[in-house]
Assembly symmetry: C2
Homo-oligomer: 372 residues x 2
């Protein structure tokens, strides 16, 4: 599976998930829950509470919307792909007065544009996607957040496919809300949504009715090692193990591995003569998108022949790109496998690709590179 | 684990959950999803769509609230325990004008009371708890629903701890919304919320903003075997296996087993001379509540000595009762185990219990009884 979420899950994590279920209020579960919450703070690099919801990443994102938006209030949503547009739709659905800074899919948001928008019209919060999974673009969240903070706006970051793959310095960059999900770089099956919440965000909560996704209710419960509603205990046990693996490898080492995996994927794609859709820079460490007219046939071919799952394009990119995810439990030989399969199937489909060079180029790029 | 949710999970289900993760839009997952949705309709005994949310049962219940409630509209909430009160709080939080038919914890709601309330004031929907897990009382949903329907109200049923344990005839009884969760009689870890929705309920949706729990979005996606947001694929795979086990045993046989488990638990409790809190009738097939001043000590004792997890009282029943859950993957020897442990620990605590009779009484009640 080479999709940008769900991603492959290490066997230690699967074993924890397949273990007999324990009760969420029992002494069997509380230490797991406590450790998992502490590890989440470490991975988010924050001293604030990280709330855990039984929900997909979209559910955790909805928690930000229902806790922060009061109908009629001005917000700035930055989008450059499928997920950014989902957040524009969601904030609008909850009555926010949305200024939508909308880039073409595949473009990289620019902090100067955010600054210009905010000087024209203030916003209670700026909504940013760190890794736009639909295009492979990783935004410069630090710069975007700085522009938002200068204007006094809260910063909400969709880090669903980026948390644990590329740096996301919640406290150091002044991010008020960081949303993620279990099924990407956190190497756990889908089902848990995550939201790190700053004190400033807690203080500026809005008037939208809420219950399941209410931050206060969840934070109060979590602080006494309880959960407001029955949590997905099996997934929490798995996430705890997965976070342990990440922290054992070391977050900086994990980030470096992802940078090198991205370099390897891009080197392989370029070596066989295919066109990169995602930017050819080191921030593109999550998913590598390739623009090729035969995308759908290649995806079907590698699936049927080799049982390899790639992702296609979403929305306006449907049928135009294929995406190789390399977040989470991946090493360079996984990337090599995907490249080799793409090469073979593309060649048989008559696509003009250079044979026999992609895997070598990928391994070279991975092995002989250092990350500053 | 003898708690009324999460409940023990059969090994076949754990194995499915611990299997490598597949992508939710791949041909590996779609047949599982399709079969799981069809089995859910069978277990709910409905021809309507059964929506699957990545959320706890409370999340699925919130879907009913945000899809049906328009602020200011009249609703009737029937409560007789912790969960009924949660739904009163939730409908109120979303602005419903709530008439709260509130019974003391442990009482059984009466259809005549519903009829009287609705003749005094109409309601868009009547909100009912089938199995009030906090007290062990199972309401007569068929009678309550009939009273609601006579008055033209929609019927919303919390069947979180009852679906798959006691009969819940969604279509035959005219239930508009039936909400449940994966972690009770459906023998799967927590993390999936379920909501069966009638056409009438779909047509009377209200004006509350919603996104993650929007019925239309989820129904449209499910009908094309997609999910609007990344589903908890591992839990869906497990639920599919668990529903297969239920349907293989046969729903009627499953219901009969639960009736006899309830009889066994009550016979054992009475034989050792303890006081039943839940009603001594055949509808009490989900959880058996026992009123005993030493409840907390007994619960701690059986946990420390034998690793057995019982549930205590919630809210105003805290410290006053203990609860033996027997929903899902249970047979009579499990009930016997719980009774034997309670007997031993209670006796050592100096509680006046008759020794050596509870297990025999339970087995006799189970074996030598038939269900009409």
């Amino acid at each position: 599976m080479f999709t940008p979420g769900p991603t492959p899950v290490p066997p230690e994590v699967l074993a924890a998930i397949g273990a007999p279920v324990v009760h969420h209020r029992s002494p069997d579960f509380r230490p797991v829950y406590e450790r998992c919450l502490a590890r989440l703070r470490e991975v988010c690099r924050t001293e604030s509470d990280v709330l855990l919801f039984t929900a997909s990443g979209t559910g955790a994102f909805e928690s930000a919307v229902v806790n922060l938006v009061t109908p009629g209030e001005p917000h700035l949503v930055v989008s450059a792909g499928s997920f950014g547009e989902r957040w524009a739709a969601m904030t609008t659905a909850y009555g926010a007065d949305v200024d939508h800074l909308r880039y073409a899919w595949g473009e990289t948001p620019d902090a100067e544009d955010v600054r210009a928008r905010l000087s024209a019209r203030e916003a209670k919060a700026v909504w940013i996607v760190q890794s736009e999974t639909s295009t492979g673009v990783v935004a410069d969240v630090q710069a975007l957040a700085a522009a938002a903070r200068e204007a006094g706006a809260l910063v909400v970051v969709d880090a669903v496919s980026s948390l644990g793959a590329v740096p996301c310095e919640t406290d150091a960059w002044g991010l008020d809300v960081v949303v993620s999900g279990s099924q990407k770089a956190l190497m756990t099956p889908p089902g848990l949504g995550i939201a790190a919440i700053s004190e400033a965000a807690m203080e500026r909560r809005g008037a939208t009715p809420r219950f399941y996704f209410d931050w206060e209710r969840t934070r109060t419960a979590q602080r006494s090692l309880d959960a407001p509603f029955t949590p997905a205990v099996s997934l929490v046990a798995g996430l705890d193990v997965a976070l342990g693996l990440l922290l054992e490898e070391g977050l900086d080492a994990v980030f470096e591995r992802h940078v090198r995996l991205g370099r390897a994927a891009r080197a392989g794609v370029k070596a066989m003569g295919l066109e990169l859709f995602s930017p050819d820079d080191d921030r593109s460490a999550v998913v590598t998108a390739v623009r090729v007219p035969e995308a759908a046939e290649i995806i079907a071919g590698v699936r049927d022949r080799f049982g390899i799952t790639l992702a296609g394009g979403q929305g306006e990119l449907k049928g135009k790109i294929l995406r190789i995810g390399h977040i989470g439990w991946f090493d360079v030989f996984d990337v090599a496998t995907a490249l080799a399969a793409i090469e073979l199937v593309a060649a048989e489909l008559g696509v003009d690709v250079e044979r026999g060079v992609a895997v070598t180029a990928a391994l070279e790029a991975y092995e002989h590179s250092t990350v500053a």
